[in-house]
C-alpha cells in the first residue's frame, strides 16, 4: 500500500500544537508508516514551492493550526485547502481563534501602537513599524499584510473537521489520527470529540450551586474535594467540551475553557455567561452587579478567552466603527 501524504502547518498560534503532536511519542512511528510528511515547518523539512507544485487534493491529510491574521497565513490556508483531501482545523486557534483572537478587541492600529510604540520594553527610536510594502534602494520589499481582524480557519476556507484544545491532548490526537487512518470519521464539518463537558470527567463533589461571590485564583486555596465553581472560582468546566480529562480541576485550578463549546452550542461565552448568571445567589440587582463587577473584572477575557473570534460577537464593533471612520 502506498503511503498517504501529510501536511502540518501553523499560522497565528504559539507552537504548542506541534509539541502536542510530538507528544504522541512512539506512535509517531505509526504516523510515519502511514504518511509521507510533505510539509511540517516546525518538525521536518518541506518547502511551500514544492506544495504549490502538487496536484489539487493530493495531500491526504492536513493538520492546520493557528488562526488567520496575515495575508501569508491566508495564502497558506487557501493553498493547503486546495491541495488537501481532508483539512483539519487543529487546536483552539484554528478552531475558534483562541488567545490571538482576543486581538479582535482592538484594531490593527491599536495593536501596532502597543507593539511598536507604547510597550515599555521597546527600543524603537525611529518609530519603525511593519509595512506591507517598503521601498529600499534595491527595490520594493514585501511583508505579509497584517489584517485588522483575526479569522478562524473555518471562517477563511471550508474545513472538514475540527480538533479542539489548547493544545489538543496527545491521546485525542492519536484517536483522531486513528479514526482518519481507519476511515471511521464523523460527518464532515463536525468536531472530533465527545459531546459532553469537563464536569462529566471531573471527580469533584457537586451540589446545587449558589454563589455569593466570585473569587480569583490567587485569592483562595480551594478545597480539593468540592466543585471549584461552588467555591466561587470561575470554572469553565460546565460549558467546556470534555477531552482533556479535567486536567486543570485535578490540580486544583479552574478550567479555563480551552476545549471550546460543547456540541450544538453556538456561542460559548454567552452560554457560560448565562450559566454563571444563573447561579448567582441574589435577586437584588445592585448586589448582582457588585458580585459580577468584583469577581469578574474581565468578562470577555474570562468568558471568551478562546472563542472571541468564532463567537457571534467576532470582534469589538466599536473598534470596527472607528476603523471604518
Amino acid at each position: 500500500m502506498s503511503k498517504g501524504k501529510l501536511a502540518i502547518y501553523w499560522a497565528a498560534s504559539c507552537g504548542g500544537c506541534e509539541i502536542s503532536i510530538l507528544g504522541i511519542q512512539e506512535k509517531i512511528l505509526e504516523v510515519d508508516k502511514a504518511f509521507d510528511i510533505v510539509l511540517f515547518p516546525c518538525g521536518a523539512d518541506g518547502k511551500v514551492r514544492e506544495v504549490e507544485k502538487l496536484p489539487d487534493k493530493s495531500i491526504d491529510l492536513c493538520l492546520f493550526n493557528g488562526g488567520i491574521r496575515t495575508s501569508e497565513q491566508e495564502y497558506m490556508a487557501r493553498l493547503l485547502r486546495a491541495k488537501s483531501r481532508v483539512l483539519v482545523a487543529f487546536g483552539s486557534c484554528a478552531h475558534e481563534g483562541c488567545v490571538p483572537g482576543l486581538g479582535n478587541l482592538h484594531t490593527r492600529k491599536e495593536i501596532f501602537e502597543t507593539n511598536y510604540h507604547d510597550s515599555p520594553s521597546l527600543d524603537n527610536p525611529g518609530g519603525t513599524e511593519p509595512h506591507h510594502e517598503s521601498s529600499v534602494p534595491e527595490g520594493t520589499l514585501h511583508l505579509p499584510e497584517f489584517y485588522d481582524t483575526l479569522k478562524t480557519l473555518g471562517q477563511t476556507v471550508p474545513v472538514d473537521y475540527y480538533l479542539p484544545g489548547c493544545p489538543p491532548e496527545s491521546e485525542r490526537i492519536w484517536e483522531a489520527l486513528e479514526a482518519i487512518l481507519t476511515g471511521q470519521l464523523p460527518p464532515p464539518g463536525s468536531v472530533i470529540g465527545v459531546n459532553t463537558t469537563v464536569c462529566d470527567v471531573c471527580k469533584r463533589k457537586r451540589t446545587e450551586k449558589k454563589i455569593k461571590a466570585f473569587k480569583r485564583t490567587w485569592e483562595v486555596v480551594p478545597d480539593e474535594e468540592t466543585c471549584l465553581l461552588e467555591q466561587g472560582l470561575v470554572c469553565c468546566g460546565p460549558a467546556t467540551r470534555a477531552g482533556c480529562g479535567a486536567l486543570c480541576p485535578q490540580v486544583n485550578s479552574p478550567c479555563i475553557g480551552c476545549y471550546g463549546p460543547n456540541g450544538g452550542v453556538e456561542d460559548y461565552g454567552a452560554r457560560l455567561m448565562s450559566a454563571l448568571a444563573s447561579v448567582i445567589d441574589s435577586n437584588d440587582p445592585e448586589e448582582v452587579e457588585r458580585i459580577v463587577r468584583e469577581g469578574l473584572p474581565d468578562p470577555v477575557g474570562t468568558l471568551y478567552r478562546f472563542s472571541l473570534a468564532s463567537s457571534l460577537l467576532r470582534r469589538s464593533s466599536r473598534q470596527a466603527e472607528a476603523a471604518k471612520a
Binding site: 459531546n195 459532553t196 463537558t197 469537563v198 464536569c199 462529566d200 470527567v201 457537586r206 451540589t207 446545587e208 450551586k209 449558589k210 466543585c227 465553581l229 468546566g237 460546565p238 460549558a239 470534555a242 463549546p261 460543547n262 456540541g263 450544538g264 452550542v265 453556538e266 452560554r271 457560560l272 448565562s274 450559566a275 444563573s278 447561579v279 471604518k324
Partner: protein, 669 residues
C-alpha cells in the same frame, strides 16, 4: 417534501386593518414568502366563518402548517389550535403572529406598520415549518383543594367547595380563622354586625365534615402541578394539644403574664401569654406565645399546666410538618394595613389622639378594649370633634398609587358611628368620594343628611401646635379646601387616618412558591383582568379576595365563590390537559454540573446521583425555558422553542436585512 403553509391575516374589525394594510400583507406573503400555499385576509379570523375557512383550506389545500396573524396568542391561540385539530392538523403546527398588540396598537404610521407585519409573518412562517407535532398530556385532578387564608374570601371558597361535597384543606397563619373581618364592628352600608355574619361561617367551616383546618400553620412548599400538587404545611407548635383541649379558658384566666396585643387589638388592649385572639376564635384552642411566656423565657411558672384539667398543655410540642396531595390551590391571603408612621406629618405614633382605621374599628367594637366606647387615648374622654383623613398611603405616589377601594365607605361608616355614639362633629377630608357599589351612594347621602362635614382636599399636616384661639389642646388639621379654594385649619379632639390596604409583606414569596407573579404594587396577578379574574397564569392556582387587589367584603366573597366554582369545574371534568411544551435533557450529553438544579421555578428538575445526570420531570415542567438558557453545555432543549425554531424565526424576521447587509458590506469594501 416542502411544507404547505397557510397564512391568515385578521383585520380584527378595524383594530388591525386600521393601521395595517391586511390585504396587501396577505398578497405579499403568498408572492414572497417561500412555501406559502394559501394566504388570505379576513375581517374576523376568530369568528366561526374565519375558523371554517382555515379548516376548509387544511382539508382542501392540504396545508401542513398554519400561521394566523391576528391578536395575542394569549387570547386566541386555543381557538385556532382547536380549528386545526378539527381539520386533522396537529394543533402545535399552528403559529400565531401578533400583529395587533405588537403592531397596529402600538404603531403610528400605516406603511411601517404594514412592513412590520410582513416581517413578523415571515418569521412565523420560517418558524412554523420547523415546528413539530406535540401531544398534550392528561393528568387526573385530585378532588382535594388547598385554601390558603381563613379570612372571609378563603372561608367562602372553603364552604362552597365543602358544601358541594369536595374535601378542603384550609390553612390559616394566625391562631384563629376569621381574618380582618373578625376585628370589625359594623359592616357598610347595611351596618349589620360583622361578627354576627362572620362567626357562623367560621364555626361552620370548622365543623364541616369535608374541611380540615390547620390554624397557626403556614404553607411552606408547593411542588407538582395542576391536578396533582404536593404541598408541605408547617403547623407551628401551639404548646397546647388540640386533641385534649376543651377550650374552657382556665389557662388564660390564670396566666400571670399580660402582654400588649399588637395583633388583634392593634396595640389597644392586652392579652395573656397563653391566649386566644378573641372570644369567638375558631378553633377555640389557645396558643402559648413562647416569646412572652414566663416558663419559656425564665423556666418558671407552669401555671397553665396546673390549671388545665384535661392536661392539654404541652411545652415540648414541636412544629409539625404535614405533606398533602391536592388538585388545586386557592390563595386568599388578604392584605395588611399601611404603616401610618411613614407619613410623619400626620403624627401617628407621635400625637396620642391620632388613630388608624383598624384602631378605630376596635374602639367602636362592643367586644373591643373599650367595650365599644369611642374615647381618646386616655381611655375615658369622649371626643367632641373627630376628623377622618382619607387616602393615607393610598392614591399617593410616595407610597401606594392604588385606591384602597374600601376607605371611603369605611369612613362614612365611622362617621355614622361617631355621630350615633357621641354626637361629636365629624369632618371627612377626602380627595374624591368613591361610593360606586349597590346602596353605597345612598349611604353617602344618608351621612350628608346626618350632618357629617365633608371637606375636599388632601390634608397637609396634623399638628398640636396651636396658632389661633380655640386651637389649644386640640389637633389641628391643616388642609386646602379645594371647593372653597382656601386654606383651612380645623381643630379636633381625635383624628382617624384611613390607612391604605397593602399586599401582605410575604405575598411575593408565597406567590413564588405557587408559581404566580405579583403586580408592581404587589397584588397577585390574575390571568385576565376582566375575563379571568380569579385564575392565574399557573394552572390550578386561583386567587380570591384582597390578595388580588384591595376590595371590600362583598367583592371578596364573590371572588371566593368564583374561585371555588372554577375549582369545582376542574374537579368535575376529572382530568386536565398539560401543555406538551416542555424542556428535556439529553442524558448522554449532561455532565451533571447541577447548574440547572436550583433554576427551575417549578421544581421540575431532579438530579440522579447514581447516573450523575439531571432530569426534567415532564409533568411538572411549564416550558418556561429558564433551564434551557442556564445549561452551559447546551444539552437542554425546550420543545416548541428549540434553537432551530428560534434561529429560523430570527432569520425570518430579518428577511429583508440580508439584502440590505449585502449592500452595506459592498459599500464598506
Amino acid at each position: 417534501m416542502a411544507e404547505r403553509v397557510g397564512v391568515y391575516v385578521c383585520h380584527c374589525g378595524s383594530n388591525i386593518a386600521g393601521m395595517v394594510d391586511c390585504e396587501a400583507v396577505a398578497r405579499w406573503a403568498k408572492e414572497n414568502v417561500s412555501d406559502v400555499a394559501v394566504s388570505r385576509d379576513y375581517k374576523f379570523m376568530c369568528s366561526s366563518l374565519g375558523q371554517a375557512m382555515i379548516e376548509e383550506d387544511i382539508r382542501k389545500e392540504g396545508l401542513t402548517r398554519v400561521v394566523v396573524a391576528a391578536c395575542s396568542p394569549h387570547l386566541h391561540e386555543k381557538t385556532f389550535r382547536r380549528a386545526c385539530s378539527n381539520a386533522g392538523l396537529n394543533p402545535y403546527l399552528m403559529q400565531m403572529c401578533n400583529i395587533r398588540e405588537h403592531v397596529s396598537w402600538v404603531a403610528q404610521e400605516r406603511d411601517p406598520a404594514t412592513e412590520k407585519a410582513k416581517s413578523l409573518i415571515s418569521a412565523a412562517v420560517a418558524r412554523v415549518k420547523r415546528q413539530e407535532p406535540l401531544e398534550p398530556m392528561k393528568v387526573g385532578v385530585n378532588p382535594r383543594t388547598l385554601v390558603v387564608g381563613g379570612g372571609i374570601a378563603g372561608l367562602q371558597a372553603t364552604l362552597e367547595l365543602a358544601d358541594a361535597g369536595y374535601p378542603v384543606v384550609l390553612v390559616e397563619r394566625s391562631p384563629s380563622i376569621g381574618g380582618h373581618m373578625a376585628q370589625f364592628d359594623k359592616t357598610f352600608p347595611t351596618l349589620d354586625c360583622s361578627a354576627c355574619i362572620l362567626t357562623p361561617k367560621m364555626s361552620e367551616a370548622y365543623q364541616h365534615e369535608n374541611v380540615t383546618l390547620y390554624s397557626y400553620a403556614e404553607l411552606e412548599e408547593v411542588s407538582g402541578s395542576v391536578g396533582a400538587f404536593k404541598v408541605r404545611i408547617r403547623k407551628r407548635a401551639r404548646s397546647v394539644r388540640e386533641d385534649l383541649c376543651t377550650g374552657c379558658g382556665a389557662c388564660i384566666e390564670k396566666c400571670p403574664r399580660k402582654v400588649v396585643d399588637n395583633d388583634f387589638e392593634v396595640g389597644l388592649g392586652y392579652r395573656k401569654a397563653i391566649y386566644m385572639p378573641f372570644p369567638q376564635a375558631v378553633p377555640k384552642i389557645p396558643v402559648i406565645d413562647r416569646e412572652n411566656c414566663t416558663w419559656f423565657q425564665r423556666g418558671k411558672c407552669r401555671v397553665c399546666e396546673k390549671m388545665c384539667q384535661p392536661g392539654a398543655i404541652d411545652y415540648d410540642q414541636q412544629d409539625e410538618i404535614i405533606e398533602l396531595d391536592v388538585g388545586n390551590i386557592i390563595l386568599a391571603t388578604g392584605w395588611k394595613l399601611f404603616d401610618c408612621r411613614k407619613i410623619p406629618q400626620y403624627g401617628y405614633g407621635r400625637l396620642a389622639n391620632v388613630f388608624t382605621n383598624m384602631e378605630f374599628e376596635r374602639l367602636c367594637n362592643a367586644a373591643g378594649p373599650t367595650s365599644g366606647k369611642i374615647v381618646l387615648r386616655d381611655g375615658k374622654t369622649e371626643p367632641r370633634s373627630v376628623a377622618i383623613v382619607h387616602c393615607v398611603g393610598s392614591r399617593d405616589k410616595n407610597h401606594n398609587e392604588h385606591c384602597s377601594a374600601v376607605c371611603c365607605m369605611a369612613a362614612l361608616k365611622f362617621g355614622h358611628l361617631v355621630l350615633e355614639k357621641t354626637g361629636a362633629e365629624v369632618y371627612s377630608f377626602y380627595i374624591d368620594m368613591r361610593t360606586n357599589q349597590k346602596m353605597y351612594e345612598e349611604f353617602y347621602c344618608r351621612l350628608l343628611e346626618e350632618g357629617m362635614h365633608f371637606i375636599r382636599g388632601r390634608v397637609a399636616e396634623i399638628t398640636d401646635a396651636a396658632r389661633m384661639p380655640g386651637e389649644e389642646g386640640k389637633l389641628i388639621i391643616q388642609c386646602e379646601d379645594t371647593l372653597l379654594g382656601r386654606q383651612r385649619r380645623i381643630p379636633v379632639d381625635m383624628v382617624i387616618l384611613m390607612g391604605a390596604l397593602e399586599p401582605q409583606a410575604d405575598a411575593k414569596e408565597l406567590g413564588l412558591k405557587c408559581g404566580i407573579s405579583c403586580s408592581m404594587a404587589g397584588w397577585y396577578t390574575e390571568r385576565h383582568p376582566k375575563l379571568d379574574p380569579v385564575a392565574t397564569m399557573t394552572d390550578g392556582v386561583f386567587v380570591a379576595g384582597a390578595c388580588q387587589g384591595a376590595k371590600d367584603i362583598p367583592a371578596a366573597v364573590a371572588q371566593g365563590a368564583a374561585a371555588a366554582a372554577r375549582v369545582m369545574g376542574m374537579i368535575t371534568k376529572g382530568t386536565v390537559e398539560i401543555e406538551p411544551v416542555v424542556a428535556s435533557i439529553d442524558e448522554e450529553g449532561c455532565s451533571g454540573c447541577r447548574i440547572c438544579n436550583n433554576m427551575c421555578p417549578y421544581n421540575a428538575i431532579e438530579y440522579d446521583a447514581g447516573r450523575n445526570v439531571s432530569r426534567v420531570i415532564t409533568a411538572l415542567c411549564k416550558g418556561c425555558g429558564t433551564c434551557v438558557a442556564a445549561c452551559p453545555a447546551g444539552v437542554i432543549t425546550g420543545s416548541h422553542f428549540n434553537n432551530e425554531q428560534i434561529g429560523a424565526e430570527i432569520e425570518g424576521i430579518l428577511w429583508d436585512a440580508r439584502a440590505a447587509a449585502g449592500r452595506g458590506a459592498a459599500a464598506a469594501v
